[in-house]
């Protein structure tokens, strides 16, 4: 084949993907008037969960480390916003992100440094233990964190104070505006994560995941790469927490408790952790799944548990993984030349 033909072949799937992404984004942008206030709000929660899962999956899918303590970073993001509001009087969403992200990054760096010295089960248990430390602190130091009652967060101002939400009808206006805001941040996050995953760094992570010994022989500093991956992963999840709390209006220690980490894991698994879009699909889907499970039956935990077990047994690569496996089988074989 000519070089030109080969490079055209390489670009086509990427262009296709980009086109698909743009279409999806456009669809999402057009939805709110058609789906109503409640669904818009729910979808916003879904996008936030997708960001959290995206971050989490850098660690699981691409680096091969299963963390059971990601609630810590989500919670740090959420509580940072609440404390910034209460103690520093900050109302600007941009400032929340600008100040909250570094805080999440620092905590991720710290936890990551401690945790990446171990792998597999011990890594998972260590992340769980550390997140529980945070949970206990949030619970016990109630004069700082509001204890089990949590902290309330009023509506922030968006776009450097240009958009404020008070007065009649402000709830509706806020939900609609915030949806677009989150959608924007989501799009940016997806792009950033895409770049990371396809960069040499990302490739190195996958090499380490697949065969640690060989990667070490290649000269890759395993621990260093894992640590950076952990840092990025925690920061993304922290971003999700920051975005989450103004929508929720409230943050409580529940968001630091270990079953919430389990939910993040579940989310990623639902969509599939072997590919890029899996966590996104998983985040949105899980939000809907849980909401409707809770609304439909009082035994929603049972329902979710059954779904989880079935997923692990039958669809270990998640929904996206299963779909792409089916798509692979259906695609006609490429002619080789």
């Amino acid at each position: 084949m000519t070089v030109a033909a080969v490079s055209r072949l390489q670009y086509r799937p990427k262009l296709l993907l980009l086109a698909a992404a743009v279409v999806v984004l456009a669809l999402l942008a057009l939805l709110p008037p058609y789906i109503g206030l409640y669904q818009t709000q729910l979808l916003t929660y879904g996008l936030i969960a997708a960001i959290a899962a995206l971050g989490f999956n850098l660690l699981l899918g691409y680096t091969g480390l299963l963390s059971f303590g990601h609630s810590a970073f989500f919670g740090i993001g959420a509580y940072s916003v609440a404390l910034l509001l209460r103690d520093a009087g900050i109302h600007s969403m941009e400032l929340y992100v600008l100040i909250g992200l570094p805080i999440a990054a620092v905590i991720s760096a710290l936890f990551g440094y401690i945790c990446v010295r171990h792998t597999r089960i011990f890594f998972g248990i260590l992340t769980l233990a550390l997140s529980q430390v945070l949970w206990t602190l949030a619970y016990k130091f109630f004069w700082v964190t509001g204890g089990s009652d949590g902290l309330r967060v009023a509506r922030p101002t968006l776009l450097a104070g240009m958009l404020t939400f008070t007065g009649g009808g402000s709830f509706q206006r806020f939900i609609n505006a915030y949806y677009y805001y989150v959608l924007g941040v989501f799009a940016i996050s997806v792009v950033i994560m895409w770049v990371i995953v396809h960069s040499p760094f990302g490739k190195a992570l996958q090499a380490i995941r697949d065969n640690e010994t060989r990667a070490a022989f290649l000269g890759l500093r395993i621990r260093r790469f894992r640590w950076v991956s952990f840092l990025i992963s925690g920061t993304f999840t922290g971003l999700a927490g920051i975005l989450w709390v103004p929508l929720n209006g409230l943050t409580t220690p529940e968001v630091l408790y270990w079953p919430f980490s389990g939910e993040i894991v579940f989310t990623t698994l639902l969509g599939g952790f072997r590919n890029f879009t899996g966590p996104i699909v998983g985040g949105v889907l899980f939000t809907y799944l849980k909401t409707y499970a809770v609304a439909t039956t009082e035994y929603w935990q049972l329902l979710l548990g059954v779904v989880l077990v079935l997923l692990v047994m039958l669809l270990p690569t998640g929904i996206v993984g299963a779909i792409s496996a089916v798509a692979d089988k259906l695609r006609p074989q490429e002619k080789s030349s």
Partner: protein
């Protein structure tokens, strides 16, 4: 700061209007029970739609808190059934109820309220037991514009800080600060010689509120008391043995606790085995707030058994207050158990709503808008099974006289109940901050308006 004036202790208690009386249990047979509000004598004015009136009721259906919270649902349903038996609100709109389990957690509860309003299209939101949930839900209810009548979740924080100018949100049961003060008054009245006090409270806002207001009051009612031990088990603790041992090691004269619900049941059973009740007096804010049958006959006698300052089914008793006798009998017939204060609160909430709607209709005709209903609820006073209740217009909080009693085993009931000769009632105006007293942040930094009011207006007792 001026030194507080000092008074003689007995005169102080007298000035608070504390009465110790009998429940008046003995009575003749029941007269066909009077209902809370007579069916409207005249038909409603104007055109009334006959679409159902949808209510959302949130309470604890699971977890140890369910022994306290689940009767709220029963009271609500009974009221709804009675009203529907006469055709519904204004005779045309039947009440429908969807429920949610408060045990799902504060976060999930907020989401569920939004869902109930935006998707479930409820017209009224009621219930809510935990003081951890009401401050989170009140602002959301205001934001959503859904008429709300909290059965409990009585923390001062809701109307002091979280929702200081309530529009849509009302609360039926007595404000939380009254609990600690009631327990303090009961203690000072009954055991004036206690000096060393041990505390055990659940580690969340209710426990802290109960502890703080009790201490503020007892410092002024009894001179020379000191706190010898503090314990803060997490809400939902099942093993109190280490705490019990610690309490006993501090050798107090009195144990004061706001542990409630299933936690309290676990606590007293474990404490019995360590002989705690033989070594000290015990005062509680909520021991008998649970569904009455949850407190077994093994419960020690003579414990100050609070009911969240609200209501215990044997008081007022006998024929002295037929509303209560009839209510208790109807409730027992319907549910095969006796009501607690949550049942009475939820029951009264629906009847207050009904009354407000009827009055608004009389004035303007047609089905009243929420604004009209709210304006009729503000300042509404009614006779209820527990006594007179008044919804104060400035903070939408319900006020009724506070009541507490002492545990005793009577042959009439298969569970521990109140000593009929030792019921303590306190006029509510003497133990709560009056209307428009400055809230926290407006001139003072106390945790509640009530705390500020006590510090500024209560004298200190001597001797």
């Amino acid at each position: 700061m001026d030194k507080p004036t000092t008074v003689d202790r007995r005169k102080f208690l007298g000035a608070l209007g504390v009465t110790v009386g009998g429940t008046g249990l003995a009575g003749a047979g029941l007269v066909a029970g009077p209902q809370l509000v007579k069916a409207a004598a005249e038909p409603p004015k104007g055109k009334i739609p006959d679409t159902p009136y949808r209510t959302g009721h949130m309470t604890f259906f699971t977890s140890p808190a369910a022994v306290l919270g689940e009767p709220s649902h029963k009271g609500h349903i009974m009221a709804a059934e009675e009203i529907n038996a006469e055709g519904g609100l204004l005779g045309k709109r039947k009440i429908e109820t969807i429920t949610a389990d408060e045990a799902a957690g504060t976060d999930a509860n907020v989401k569920e309220l939004r869902r109930m309003k935006l998707e479930g299209k409820i017209d009224l939101f009621t219930g809510v037991i935990s003081s951890g949930n009401s401050p989170a839900l009140a602002p959301v209810a205001e934001e959503l514009g859904v008429l709300t009548m909290f059965t409990d979740g009585c923390t001062d924080f809701v109307f002091d800080v979280a929702d200081p100018n309530p529009k849509y949100v009302f609360r039926i049961t007595n404000i939380q600060s009254a609990d600690g003060i009631t327990a303090a008054i009961g203690t000072a009245q009954t055991w004036p010689n206690v000096r060393k006090i041990a505390h055990i409270h659940p580690d969340y806002s209710y426990g802290r509120n109960a502890s703080e207001h009790f201490t503020l009051a007892i410092e002024r009612l009894l001179p020379g008391t000191e706190v010898v031990s503090e314990n803060w088990p997490k809400l939902g603790t099942t093993d109190f043995t280490a705490h019990i041992t610690k309490i006993m090691s501090s050798q107090p004269d009195l144990l004061y606790t706001s542990v409630w619900g299933g936690d309290y049941v676990a606590f007293y059973k474990q404490a019995l085995r360590y002989g705690l009740f033989d070594k000290m007096k015990v005062a509680t804010t909520l021991a008998m707030g649970v569904a009455p049958h949850a407190i077994g006959k093994d419960h020690p006698e003579g414990v100050l058994s609070g009911v969240h300052s609200n209501y215990y089914f044997t008081y007022p008793g006998g024929d002295r207050w037929p509303l209560n006798k009839a209510f208790v009998q109807r409730y027992y017939k319907r549910w095969n158990e006796y009501p607690n204060f949550q049942s009475e609160g939820a029951y009264v909430a629906l009847y207050m709503l009904k009354t407000a709607i009827e009055r608004a209709n009389k004035l303007a005709g047609g089905w009243p808008e929420d604004e009209a209903i709210i304006s009729q609820l503000e300042g509404l006073g009614m006779d209820t099974p527990s006594g007179y209740i008044y919804l104060r217009p400035d903070n939408h909080q319900g006020y009724k006289d506070a009541v507490t009693g002492f545990s005793k085993n009577l042959p009439d009931y298969p569970f521990a109940t109140w000593d009929p000769n030792r019921v303590i009632t306190i006029p509510i105006r003497n133990i709560t901050a009056p209307g428009n007293w400055p809230k926290p942040g407006k001139g003072h930094n106390e945790s509640t308006a009530a705390a500020d009011w006590i510090k500024k207006t209560w004298p200190k007792a001597m001797g």
